[in-house]
């Protein structure tokens, strides 16, 4: 018994002294590299620290109405996303494919369909915090982070109205965004019960290692259309001009 206690005691002392030693070593390292780099200032960190969590931690104070959002939308967003966020021309459509039944249930039924139609952002999105976060950090595409916080609220409110989640006179703010979350059509549409979250997870599909006379269906051979060959410039110029393998001569399409 005595021996057991002293072994535990020794282990604890060893662990503690190792931790202290590591801390001393890391600050010694910082002194060693004294002219390389510097610590980020609090305001630099604050400029980066703009994420909004699903529990709304990080959400800045502010507000914006659907009407204000519409003005911003027409000026900054419609050219890529369409007047009603429905355009598939530049990017996949943002709004559409959700029903009142989805809002009740919390799962978008259209996601289970085998339809060839695009799945819109509002169909897939589980958290309104993500919508706010993304618009704030990444939109508009040509001038990310140029929207003020109130403008982000306004644009978000406008999109929510287009998706029939809030009425036309709605003013979105940090006070009522949680009740919007409760109406998100796909709020229960995500699962972590899959094999790609953990290294030891079970894959959903695996192939076969047939080595001889394997079944192959060579009737269904698909090629890319030749119009895309030039999309990356002249491949011949991007390969070594010597040796037994060269690049194919392709031209950027006019």
């Amino acid at each position: 018994m005595f021996r057991f206690h002293s072994t535990v005691g020794v282990m604890r002392a060893l662990l503690l002294s190792t931790l202290v030693w590591l801390i001393c070593m890391s600050s010694a390292q910082a002194e060693k590299f004294v002219r390389i780099g510097r610590a980020a200032t609090p305001s630099e960190i604050a400029a980066w620290d703009i994420d909004v969590r699903p529990d709304f931690q990080g959400l800045p104070r502010g507000s914006g109405s659907v009407a204000q959002g519409e003005k911003i939308w027409v000026a900054r967003c419609a050219s890529c996303h369409g007047e009603f966020a429905e355009s598939p021309s530049v990017f996949p459509p943002l709004v559409g494919g959700t029903t009142r039944a989805d809002i009740e249930r919390g799962r978008v039924a259209g996601l289970a369909a085998v339809s060839e139609n695009s799945k819109t952002t509002m169909m897939k999105l589980a958290t309104v915090s993500t919508l706010f976060d993304y618009i704030r950090r990444a939109m508009p595409f040509d001038a990310p982070k140029s929207l003020k916080v109130d403008e982000v609220y306004a644009v978000t409110a406008f999109m929510l109205n287009l998706a029939d989640l809030v009425p036309a006179d709605y003013v979105l703010s940090e006070k009522n965004i949680a009740e919007v979350q409760r109406r998100m059509p796909n709020r229960d549409g995500n699962t972590m019960a899959h094999g790609m979250l953990d290294v030891r997870g079970k894959p959903d599909v695996s192939g076969k290692d047939c080595m001889r006379d394997c079944p192959v269906d060579t009737n269904s051979l698909l090629l890319l259309p030749s119009t895309v060959n030039g999309l990356n410039g002249n491949l011949a110029e991007q390969h070594r001009p010597y040796g037994s393998i060269r690049g194919i001569e392709t031209r950027r399409n006019p």
Partner: protein
Amino acid sequence: MPDGLQRQYTVIQECKSVITSPSGGQRLLDQGFYNITGLAWSGRGKIARVDVSVDGGRNWTTARLESPILPKCLTRFNLDWAWDGKPYILQSRAIDETGYIQPKIAELRAVRGKRSVYHNNAIQSWQVSAAGEVMNVQIS
């Protein structure tokens, strides 16, 4: 997923390989020796084996792996090939230490449908024409 649920936080990149040479956009100047080479990797550990086929997956030969073979790291594979000027379809298929075998695109689609975008770790096919041009093809 088939029932409409979305996988969240799909952080594991599953076993995949691709032939980097000869590959799409290249052309073989003449018949003769080529080193079919490429890279394999797996988020679940080390690469255990890479097989290469030149006939679109009908017959396979195990390629040599360069060392060190480390978990989650890019692993290079090589296979000697004498090109005789005929058309071929080159493919590589990786197996990682868990026994997982890189699937064909048809096997992936059978489980995930045709609208799945990310995590496409299916076998990649490169078609070598008689003229020596190598193009990106898909055998579905």
